[in-house]
């Protein structure tokens, strides 16, 4: 039993099931991020935790209390909405204390709680303004203040940063992370942005098509993706996935991949159980940052494989240079140091960190676990 349990929960609208058998359990103080492309059911799941959407089957429990059918205001949760949802006719102060007022908390206590939260979020000077007179970042803070003042068991965030410009988004992201570290509250956070998911979370649920594809720590999700969807969705640029064949040499499994001219390159696997796939096709997954020049190869890795291939495009991006090549018939991207000596059209000797490579079953698209 965790702090928040989502137990075999499904959601249907009429005959259409939009969430299938979701099973998530987190401990107190965790930061769970629900991430996935638009329409995968993240908001629906969050609204079910909030009590804004009914649960079609299964159970949601907070602190071992079954929440099915419990009114949103009785769940001791607070929510920050994508549009902030500040009441336009009330001042910032009234916005923050409205929930307390509805719960019958006397005025002096409300004022005290409001002052504390305003101080924490540095919005004291805004308390008498109407939401219409605030900037996007200020509204965001007020929305968080309204959630914080309730001192809830669980915070729910639905894409809270997606209406902010890029710079402010990064700042607020850091701020939310700091707030979580300081207050230690349990948070469920919805986003379609995998970078937000990686940076904020202690646990990520990657969702797609109404299914939770994988639940794990950011590290697990990144290094051991459950399937091709998770592998390519998480990480930027996306993981390269290309067809390859498994071959045995002295009993050790190798990935055989076609270079730009169709000649085979042999890359040794670190994963011994792939020997069972001898002679069969797999999908090989290699992250862009694990393809480097020789000098930049990870010194701690026990399995660096050389590979010479032709460069098709180079894209300098300041700190890194992205290099595109054809491998296994696909465009494959390598993330190189900016001072690497790469020129389009030239052959280049790459180093591939095969310790980090993953293999997928081409039929099921599931990872072949070590």
């Amino acid at each position: 039993m965790g702090f928040l349990d989502i137990d075999n929960t499904t959601k249907s609208y009429g005959a259409v099931e939009v969430l299938h058998q979701v099973h998530i359990s987190i401990e107190e103080g965790e930061f769970l991020v629900l991430v996935g492309p638009s329409g995968c059911g993240k908001s629906t799941l969050l609204n079910m935790i909030a009590g804004l959407e009914e649960i079609s089957s299964g159970e949601i429990r907070i602190k071992d209390q079954v929440m099915n059918g419990v009114h949103p205001s009785k769940r001791n949760i607070a929510m920050v909405f994508q549009s902030y949802a500040l009441y336009p006719n009330m001042t910032v102060g009234q916005n923050i204390t409205f929930g307390l007022e509805m719960h019958g908390i006397p005025k002096p206590e409300r004022e005290k709680a409001m002052k504390e939260v305003a101080e924490l979020l540095q919005i004291e000077q805004l308390l008498d303004r109407k939401p219409g007179a605030l900037s996007g970042g200020q509204r965001q803070r007020v929305a968080m203040g309204r959630a914080l003042v309730r001192d809830p068991d669980v915070f729910l965030f639905d894409e809270p940063l997606s209406n902010l410009d890029a710079k402010l988004r990064v700042d607020m992201r850091t701020e939310i992370k700091k707030l979580h570290q300081k207050l230690g509250t349990t948070i469920v956070y919805v986003t379609h942005d995998q970078i937000e998911a990686m940076t904020l979370s202690t646990r990520i649920a990657v969702m797609y098509g109404g299914y939770v594809q994988q639940l794990g720590t950011p590290q697990e999700i990144y290094d051991s993706p459950a399937n091709i969807f998770v592998a390519t969705f998480m990480g930027s640029p996306a993981m390269n996935v290309m067809p390859a064949k498994v071959a045995l040499k002295d009993g050790r499994p190798f990935a055989v991949v076609e270079l730009h001219d169709g000649t085979p390159a042999e890359l040794p696997f670190s994963q011994d159980n792939l020997a069972a796939w001898d002679g069969r096709g797999i999908m090989l997954g290699i992250r862009p940052e694990t393809i480097t020049d020789e000098d930049a190869a990870d010194r701690k890795s026990s399995n660096i494989a050389p590979m010479t291939n032709r460069i098709t495009v180079t894209e300098p991006a300041g700190s890194d240079t992205f290099v595109t090549m054809t491998l296994g018939g696909k465009d494959v991207i390598a993330r190189m140091r900016s001072d690497a000596d790469v020129r389009p059209g030239a052959d280049f000797k790459f180093s591939v960190n095969m310790e980090k490579a993953v293999a997928f079953d081409p039929e099921t698209e599931m990872r072949i676990a070590p």
Binding site: A50, F81, Y87, N89, M102
Partner: protein, 293 residues
């Protein structure tokens, strides 16, 4: 929208614009003419009118016709003037406008934020109410009022106007609330506000523009209504419009046109006043509803 206006303003030349203003001015004069005739003749002694100078300014200025129309003219059988009927109208219009607007707002709230199975069909049926001709409901309504013991009373008239107005007020508020962010309602739910608290504290304070539209619309329609007033009112609940008709139709003695004109202006004054006070908001509210909805 402002961009488009600016754009067309640049393209129309000076000549075209003068022409447009000229035509507009002509139309305006044409429409103002009846008002002119009414005002001018309501402040003349009767012999100046019967002498054949309808369009002339008064030679002798008098407020006598106004005083007579208000307090002593013959209405039907009694020389009461329009005064008691004016109050009848007020007693009917004010509650009818308030009740139909509040009910329309509640309907709009439920139809957009507390959706249920079949709500669109229900809304469609309510819209249908806007298109039912008055004549069709006269007899059934008379029967209903009789059964409820409200025949011939002001409250009966209030009920009729509320029922007839709900279709319109619901339409206005539903379209206005359809674009009101649902996340606000959800936030209020999580904050612990109930059905009516959300309505009073969150929704109504943001409903100013559409409330003005609804109030003006209902006020004008109910104040100006003649048919329901003539059909359902009793002797002591007749509204202003019916009384005006009786004033003009009273066949005892000479026709006092100046008094009739003054009475007609008196009957039209409240709606004029409402337009002058709140007309700006009316247009603004209609735009807010239509553009976004």
């Amino acid at each position: 929208m402002s961009l488009a206006t600016q754009d067309s303003a640049i393209r129309t030349g000076r000549v075209t614009r003068t022409l447009i203003y000229l035509v507009l001015l002509l139309f305006a004069l044409f429409y103002m003419l009846p008002l002119y005739v009414m005002v001018v003749n309501s402040v003349k002694p009767l012999d100046e009118i019967t002498g054949g100078g309808m369009m002339n300014l008064p030679q002798v200025f008098t407020l006598e016709p106004w005083a007579k129309a208000w307090s002593s003219a013959q209405i039907g059988v009694d020389p009461t003037g329009l005064k008691p009927y004016f109050w009848n109208s007020i007693k009917m219009v004010v509650p009818a406008v308030i009740v139909s607007t509040v009910l329309g707002a509640l309907n709009g709230y439920v139809l957009t934020k507390w959706r249920f199975r079949g709500d669109t069909i229900l809304f469609g049926l309510m819209l249908f109410a806007c298109f039912i001709p008055f004549q069709i409901v006269l007899i059934p309504m008379a029967r209903m009022l009789g059964l409820m013991g409200m025949a011939g009373t002001t409250w009966g008239l209030v009920l009729v106007h509320v029922v007839y107005g709900i279709g319109f007020t619901t339409l206005y508020f539903r379209n206005y609330y359809a674009v009101f962010p649902t996340e606000l309602i959800r936030a209020a739910q999580i904050d612990g506000a109930g059905f009516f608290q959300i309505f009073w504290r969150i929704l109504l304070p943001s409903s100013g523009p559409i409330a003005v539209v609804s109030i003006i619309w209902q006020f004008t329609n109910i104040w100006n209504d003649f048919l329901f007033g003539a059909s359902f009112a009793g002797a002591d609940s007749q509204p202003m419009t019916v009384a005006l008709n009786n004033l003009v139709q009273s066949s005892t003695g000479v026709k006092e046109y100046n008094v009739h004109f003054a009475g007609a202006i008196l009957a039209a004054l409240p709606t004029l006043l409402v337009y002058i006070v709140a007309g700006r908001y009316f247009v603004r509210g209609l735009m807010a509803g239509s553009v976004k909805g």
